[in-house]
Symmetry: C2
Subunit: 362 residues, 2 copies
């Protein structure tokens, strides 16, 4: 994890932009403190629960990077009243009206970034809709809120294949955000923040001209989906699930080894199913994190994982007797970490160095 | 939920068998108390954490229905020492040796059921291996443990289609367990418990001759997978996720409505993907639980759900403005409930009648 954090921090420094790490993957104060440049932030969050938990731990600069719903503004204001610079994001006139109205009622501006849809993946104002962008910006700036800037997330980069596709996704994300900022500025509106980010694009952007900050989260742990995209190697994956062998079905096709880590532990995420190498519900490793041949979790029920050789593999699977321990590398660190209420922290030896609590919820 | 519980309780009474509800779906003391015939049980659990939590709430009769790993026996013994009749399951000679050895060391027999593989779905001794069954039974009965009986779970019933396939799965499950019991008894071994169960087979078994108890869990809440199998109607689904509309992408194919319930709230479970009606990540309903046309959660990211008309649907989707509230019926109640730390209990009105805590973990 430390190497992953250093790698992206160095990359961002080289590109001359700030890093605003996304804390939605870790949901842990201790991990967050490793990720952030200072104990006060900056940081990105995906829920108000995260904002509240990290605020209680001293974080003072956060962006809540999911489109704001009006009924959540009271919690935003409560945090701002405590001295937390929490900004919201939005992509509609209705949301901007609600944020401006609550800002006036509160008597202080709530900062908002306009979300830009760089790739048709999810939310955001289309780059081809400069009138809407200007209208939202003008409403925020003139009716009591604060227009803090623009923000985009190249979600489609999770499905890009190869370095050049990832570089292209990064450039598309950058260009969309910078163009949106130009639309606002040419209308005489402020746009101090130009925020982009996803773990793949953060690692493949060739330059970030015009961008002020990058958001990324899963890079702290990485996972099989990121390895499949070529963003990291298997050796970089810093999160695993410890499982125990509870049985065998030698007569099943390929021979099954059963463990006590099913989807309740691994999550139902099957993100590698659409990649070149389908890792099932996870890649099976020894306690040192070295893959055991090409053994994967081929099937999972709630508390059972079925270890099988990856279809087509020729590597012999080592015998794993009853009670043997294995580590499962997850498809998607965000989803797998969410199945647990703490991290067991390892530092090169089998001894658990610390327990770091994590939280879920909204 | 109350109607679901009454339905299965009446069915089991009619078939003359005991119900040992599986608490892995709810993981809630309050729900468990509604499911169990008494506050002391009987019950089934899928983790030792469940056993410990429910023991602390007064449950005294539990089966830990995931194959035992030797290193977990100390926790089993700790619960038994508190007066909890916790039994374990196993399907190998090695496990039986470990259970017998720990029983002798503890000075009291640990009760074990031999798991039978009724349908090649997961764990268990094959019905075609009576020698192994007898050898495990003899070891348990003669070397210090307690041979409590046999147990099977027709996991393949989750993929059966139609009433006659479900009746057949139920009969296969019953017959496998009863045949295994006969093997043990004909060898002069005890087999007081003949335990079968899954929610589909519990609802479709035509008779349960020779069976002493049935296990089922998801029937308390039901879900879209169970509705797709014909085990329940949509009206029976007693669990939903409350979500709020946070945006729209009208230019996307079919028109997208974005909510704040992504896979973190709904889980990544896509259990209906293999069924006749693919419900995406969930079926969208109004606050009273009535489906809104054929609107489903077509895509989900961590904190975003994308509502779209089900492909091929002709029902018009009602307009859902910013801030509108919807309820999402889940594919799989066990997986969705696990994403939350409490239930908001409703009783026919919009008011929340109670908050019932739930837990996860091992």
């Amino acid at each position: 994890m430390e190497r992953n954090l250093q790698r992206l921090a160095a990359r961002m420094a080289g590109l001359g932009v700030a890093l605003r790490p996304h804390l939605k993957t870790c949901k842990s104060v201790e991990v967050a403190q490793c990720m952030m440049v200072s104990r006060a932030g900056p940081a990105t969050v995906s829920t108000l629960r995260e904002a509240e938990e990290f605020a209680a731990a001293g974080v003072r600069d956060m962006t809540y990077a999911v489109g704001i719903s009006p009924h959540k503004l009271d919690r935003v204001i409560a945090l701002r009243a405590q001295g937390v610079d929490l900004s919201v994001i939005l992509d509609s006139f209705e949301q901007a009206e609600a944020v401006a109205a609550r800002s006036r009622a509160y008597g202080l501006p709530i900062p908002a970034l306009i979300e830009i849809d760089a790739d048709g993946h999810r939310a955001g104002v289309r780059p081809g809709a400069p009138e809407l962008l200007r209208a939202i910006g003008e409403l925020l700036a003139s009716r009591g809120a604060e227009l803090r800037g623009v923000l985009t997330h190249a979600g489609a980069s999770y499905h890009a294949h190869g370095a050049s596709a990832l570089e292209q996704a990064a450039e598309g994300e950058r260009a969309a955000a910078v163009a949106a900022a130009a639309v606002l500025r040419s209308a005489g509106l402020p746009c101090p923040v130009v925020s982009v980010g996803s773990t793949p694009t953060a690692h493949f952007a060739r330059h970030l001209e015009g961008v002020t900050e990058v958001r990324a989260g899963v890079y702290a742990f990485f996972d099989l989906v990121m390895a499949g995209l070529g963003v990291c190697g298997l050796d970089d994956i810093a999160l695993s699930v410890l499982a125990t062998v509870i049985g065998h079905q030698p007569n099943q096709n390929g021979g099954w080894t059963l463990t006590d880590a099913g989807w309740m532990a691994l999550s139902r995420d099957r993100g590698t199913a659409a990649q070149a190498v389908d890792q099932g519900y996870g890649l099976v490793c020894d306690l040192a994190g070295q893959p055991l041949g090409e053994l994967i979790v081929g099937e999972a029920s709630q508390e059972h994982g079925v270890l099988v050789p990856r279809p087509g593999s020729v590597a012999p699977a080592p015998p794993l007797p009853l009670g043997a321990r294995v580590r499962i590398l997850p498809n998607h660190a965000c989803a797998t970490a969410a199945q647990f209420d703490r991290y067991h922290v390892l530092n090169g030896t089998p001894a658990v160095e610390a327990l770091w609590p994590r939280f879920n919820g909204w």
